[in-house]
Symmetry: C2
Subunit: 209 residues, 2 copies
């Protein structure tokens, strides 16, 4: 196995944390997104979506999506479980992960990609260039305020995002929350429950992966 | 179990097709999105995200996300498998489903919600109203062109979206393709492989669910 990665990017960080929680080490190939290496002919042949992470298996199969990679690893090595243990918890963890991704991670991407000076024609990831849409940056910041409020409420009721166990939903939420510092947002001052949770999940060795 | 549903909406259709493929019948409660019932106080208490589908279990647990519901049902009743059968195929099916969702379903939503006269303050689903962004409707149509091109290429190499077996990736792609008629797009004339696949998956009894 090898992982096409970029150390500074949030999507592959989700996979790196997941692998670290499993205690699995995979050799990485760094794809320099800063130099737009993901749009090169060479990388396009590896992943026509022009995104990282990509996990390449020993038989040459490539899994070109962060959560697809996590599903593969979870099936290969179920312990410790990060995606639920029975039908009910698997459904709930999936729903919370997707909530954190849709209302958090994608909102953050909307805000970041449509405002950062380094992302001028990169309104969306992928092989096609799309110009920034300033209204979308503003909408993303508004959606992140909703996300933070709901996350704080949830973490007032529950130790972790999807319940009493650390899961992939915490990984998506952690990567999202950390990335908001790039758009000068960060955790709201009054979000005490997010701060409690953030200190706890950031103290896990996987957080530095 | 009961399913909060809206017969005309694409997200719950994904779950209805999935359940039909499993041969499972679940009583439904229709939530009238046309009348904005999803934003009522009563429904907000059921799902603060103000979206359908929601699956309510007999113990009162609610799974408030289409794919979360499918993961629950797949774990409860693995046959016929719609999300892969071993680690490799589970990872690949997840990655293809998410590709169809991200580059197809969400692009279609972007195009539809930001242009339809019935969606004036509904640029995004959920509890908060966001105005339409016309550039986003145009971007969505551009992204759908890329989605159709890639889907046609894929279906020239493979019987189904994720390989030689019908899976949840076909369900997401089918619901997306059918919904594009609402924005007067539909399958491009020259997309012969999509037409072959579309005829085949539409002939399955589940397609009318």
């Amino acid at each position: 196995m090898k992982l096409y990665d970029y150390q500074r990017a949030p999507s592959p960080r989700r996979v790196r944390i997941f692998l670290a929680e499993k205690g699995i080490t995979v050799p990485t190939v760094q794809v320099d997104l800063g130099a737009r290496e993901q749009n090169s002919e060479a990388f396009r042949a590896i992943n026509p979506d022009c995104t990282v992470p990509v996990l390449e298996l020993d038989d040459g199969t490539r899994i070109t999506d962060a959560i697809g990679i996590c599903v593969y690893v979870e099936a290969l090595q179920p312990e410790p479980p990060l995606m639920g243990t029975d039908a009910r918890s698997k459904g709930l963890v999936t729903a919370w992960q997707r909530w954190a991704e849709r209302d958090g991670f994608y909102a953050m991407m909307e805000a970041f990609r449509n405002s950062s000076s380094g992302m001028k024609d990169r309104g969306i990831p992928g092989p096609v260039s799309y110009p920034q849409i300033p209204e979308l940056a503003a909408r993303g910041r508004g959606r992140l305020a909703t996300f933070f409020a709901r996350l704080d409420k949830r973490l007032g009721e529950s130790r972790y995002v999807a319940g009493d166990r650390y899961t992939i939903a915490d990984i998506t939420a952690l990567v999202t929350v950390d990335w908001t510092s790039w758009i000068k947002l960060g955790i709201p001052d009054d979000a005490a429950h997010i701060r409690r949770w953030h200190a706890e999940v950031s103290a896990r060795p996987s957080a530095t992966a």
